[in-house]
Subunit: 379 residues, 4 copies
């Protein structure tokens, strides 16, 4: 079959690879209909990870079940399904607690969590391909209504819609509360959108890219351009109170100052200022324990100068980690089916698999209009 | 009346001061029977804060109601009461949410939280004195059974028992879980004790002072001496798992390496190692936004090198802040009355008020046996 | 001043009564601008309670502060405020737990909860009058932006908006869930509206009055007419699943069969059928321990034939009780200010106080268009 | 192999039956070391259910894994395991929500929940036998330390310890609260014991059998004999307050009056009286939608006269249903391993499998000393 294969820094190719096979009785094989390119794929694409050439990318996958292992109970051939990006077993301590991003079964001992097509996340080829093997299929498939309706919306269930929603859970967003989201990329937009679905009264989104801030306005949220002055101060001025109730980091360690200089802790520390006493911070922007391209030796080890003194004085809390997609995907799917959520609005392109190399290049260059690309192998 | 007055670094005196008076209809005046010296009093005593000479110390107070304002409804003359150290109104947003340590009414606009006898915590003289004015008395008094029973136990309700309990709430301790507490001082012991009351399966307490570690063993918890090797590793060896479920910081920014050198972030970063993926950290050891005696310029601003990369990778959460004593004091009182909790075991001395200067000196010198001093003015 | 006074069954009059006065230092006096007639006022109006002639009605009150007691801290003369219908102290065990509908201070020993202008709810005259005394004013006033904006919306904060919201809390409504509400009166509509604000995927509302069901459709919820067949079955057919996730009773003990016959347990038992295994029931429709007008001797004592066998087999839960308005009113107010909620859509009339007798009569006769009447004394 | 087979009312026999076999790749076969007789087995034994002769009893099973299907990942041959009585899949909506007693996969469409050896609970033979087939073995086995230690304690993890614990979860027991348990049988004792583990301040247990009440006293809980007067009143007298915070029904529909007469709703209604305003009721005693032996036509359909009027007035909540054993078993196991819980104290006999017929007869006759029988096939 054809698949998007990593060839080395800034290079992917669509190549013939072996078809996936049922390896365990609990596997299914899915024929991919839509598979998205994720911002986190770019970390590998740019060569800033340990990913070796030869890996097939793709962790945001949906499609039609083609083959079913003998130990699978509820998934049937020709079912339409979307797969949470985290591979998970469903029965370990973390999965049972709903922390499916930290499955203790699917990766090496001592680590937690698996994913398709991602370095360090276990032996699971990605789904930017014609076919995908899905382990523990009863758990890792989310059933969808048959047909072609909502294809873009459902594709967002594999990662960014639940990841944005997860951010609001980590931050503890409640009905009537005010929320600030740092970062107006796809995940930041999904976080703002999720906060609105949960009944937030006001949602601010901070960025300095105008076309992203336009999308914020379209959502009915309030854009804050940090080129226009301190973001925390702008938000304080708007809410006329001790700060917002909840803050979300959808940027991570590659945060930059208005000058453009990388300053890995700047968003975290801005959040401490932005959020009121006793408020909550939800961190889904990535922080890593090892970053070879970091600006200094401490950042290289994932150690950042965090304003813990002020954080403690304000009695804040902070929760982190990659999204437990499975925990949210079913109910968010129901929102899409009921017409109450349309996360597909962030999709900017639907392209055949063959167009992956160009799409990666344009997405990596942040070309205007390349916000969220769906590859559609059957197209 | 007589009161313990701060005279300057390393000096307190018992002096005559004005009797407190009913200032607002919602006040009461309490005649103090027991008032404890707290580790946090030493910050002022040592001159490491902005406290000006003349302030009366004492935020762990209990006694008998002597006079009642005309707007007080449920507190009566001669009631026996203990006062949570945080002064709180009961009706602001934070108080209604149970975050009584962050009351928005009792201190300057822009700040949150008040306390008796503490610099920066509002205009409330301390209770290391014969009498104490208690504002918003219906809210700030916790009723006790009349008589003299459980005096030591009830005195612990003003601060350290609820503070230790708060640590277990911040960390999210659940029945059957394993817990590591850093620091075997009074608050650390109360945290370990609270974890046991909540049904933790195993509780580890880390310190390097032998007589404190003996108390840990007496509690039925497991002492870890960090002079014997990396504490996190010792705990990992003991639990034979990914780490403990919950971690508690009862040390704060004056943490030291085994060498004795101050390293403000060492406990925080050890906790990240000690706790399993998706586990929770509860921070009650103090971190401050400004520390003139800090070892470096960043610590002086409360900015510490925190291992956020690993923290995020493990999907951990962290909650902080001074205890919301009022939230816990009533149920913990009921545990004492029912004979199910005896937090008074940490009390090492009961002394007349006049002995305060010597007690401060010995406590500050960490003289063996001076772990928790109760001053008893009426004695 | 003028007030709406109960004269006996089916009779109220607007009469001169004594002006309210500051009785306790913690009181304020409010000049009423809007005060609504509630369905529960009709119980007294119809003579189906122990209410004695002479009582002033009115528990849904808002207005402008006119006079302030010496023990009040945050409420100022000329503040615009709305008063939760439950009178509460803010400091008893129930208030501190957010159960402000069950305050242990404001009513007779052994009872719990107080209200303005309601039989058995303590010595608090109602606000269908020019002025109202508000006890524990720092707690019982909810501050509003000055001016006249959102008058109808804010008036709904005294009772029915929080009561509808409370129903969704009791039932445990979560994002993406399906909800069935029995009863399309003002409270049922507010429950459906609240479920939507919280992100329910589908909301069904059951009634058999066409103009009420039209309002359901206007909300974007799904009307179910129980004259068209078993409501539970209609809902099962619509969701094609084990039933809805959550069910709400906004009818209470005066429930009727399609025939029109009173059958006090019919809604409760329908909910057991309508809701899936492990789902939650939120009961805000009133059930009473004593009903002289009941159809049989058991109902007269508030004992109903409840399908506990099926309820248990399905592992359902049920939570009940009058709303703890204070717990919700602040955040719901913020939703109104932010333009995210407009509960005033249920208001059908704004009338001068003098029109109260006619309004009561028409409302009691269920005259079309008399869904929610606001009396406006200053008008 | 040998198994305990139901022959008809009041008759079981130990007979040869077919050995269980791996039917699905996700199955394991367990050689039983301990299997308990449960009070709920007696419903079938007495012929008060639809159970047909030929069924093998036994849903409280533990043993050693003998054979492992090809789709099983973490369970290995010779592992020592205990099986929660509910058969569950781990991946359906209810299992993922922790409601494993209501699995939507393992029984007929339209029903929820499965169990070993129980009528109506799916095609799963019981474990009062030498061997047991365990479906979805990665989910349905709880791993135990190898060896023979804690055999009695671990055997209680299959049902009654988690069921007692579940009762405290349904009731919402928190640290410092007071609890009343109706019924001092094995489940009631486990509920009282669990309440203590969770830090309840006082626990009352109501029964009228002296030797059961002695066990209550041994636990450090407070026995209430309802032959000595109204149980609710006795408890009110003891707590001197509005009632206990939480109430537990460990009796169910076969409740009796002091006279000995069956009155199915008596415990439910007593709980409404016993528990304070806003308190919680946890119902694990069984209520059934169909009871052929009921005292009247309504009870026969599971419709009982419930004091809903008073329940509502007090703003109470009630949660019900069979225990979700899997949710609790792991942490309770850890409590046993850590020496913090010893639920095996309720075991009264350890007998070879062959003694089952006599044990059933004596247990059914409530012979003194036959409180909890463990059958041990390998013995």
């Amino acid at each position: 079959m054809k698949a998007v294969v990593y060839k080395g820094p800034y290079e992917v190719a669509v190549e013939e690879v072996d078809d996936p096979k049922i390896q365990d009785p609990t596997d299914v094989i899915v024929r991919i209909t839509s598979t998205a390119i994720c911002g986190s794929d770019l970390h590998m694409y740019e060569g800033r990870t340990d990913a070796e050439p030869g890996i097939t990318f793709g962790h945001e996958n949906m499609g039609i079940v083609e083959e079913v292992g003998s130990g699978v109970t509820t998934v049937k051939k020709s079912d339409r399904v979307v797969m949470p990006f985290n591979v998970a077993c469903g029965f370990c301590d973390n999965c049972r607690a709903g922390k499916t991003g930290f499955c203790l079964t699917v990766n090496e001992p001592g680590t937690a969590g698996g994913a398709y097509g991602y370095v360090g996340m276990g032996p699971y080829p990605g789904g930017q391909a014609e076919m995908l093997r899905v382990p523990f299929a009863d758990y890792n498939c989310v059933q969808l209504p048959k047909g072609e309706e909502h294809e873009q919306d459902f594709a967002m269930l594999a990662d960014i819609f639940p990841t944005g929603y997860h951010a609001t859970e980590l931050a503890g967003v409640q009905v009537g509360e005010t929320v600030a989201v740092y970062g107006a990329g796809p995940v930041g937009l999904m976080a703002a959108y999720s906060a609105q679905l949960k009944g937030a009264s006001r949602v601010f989104v901070v960025d300095n890219v105008e076309h992203r801030l336009d999308l914020v306005k379209d959502l009915g949220a309030e854009p804050i351009n940090f080129d226009n002055g301190d973001a925390a101060q702008q938000i304080h001025d708007a809410v006329q109170a001790y700060g917002v109730d909840r803050g979300i980091d959808a940027v991570g360690y590659q945060a930059t100052e208005p000058s453009g200089e990388e300053q890995p802790a700047v968003v975290l520390n801005q959040l401490v200022d932005t959020v009121r006493h006793t408020g909550g911070l939800g961190i889904v922007g990535l922080y890593v324990p090892s970053d070879p391209g970091a600006p200094d030796e401490h950042s290289a080890k994932g150690e950042l100068l965090f304003r813990i003194g002020r954080f403690f004085e304000k009695g804040q809390s902070m929760a982190t980690g990659q999204a437990d997609v499975k925990r949210y995907a079913h109910k968010l799917r129901d929102m899409i089916i009921a017409g109450r959520a349309k996360p597909g609005f962030v999709v900017s392109q639907e392209l055949p698999l063959e167009d992956a190399p160009g799409a990666y290049e344009k997405f990596d260059n942040r070309e205007p209009g390349y916000s969220k690309v769906l590859l559609q192998p059957g197209r």
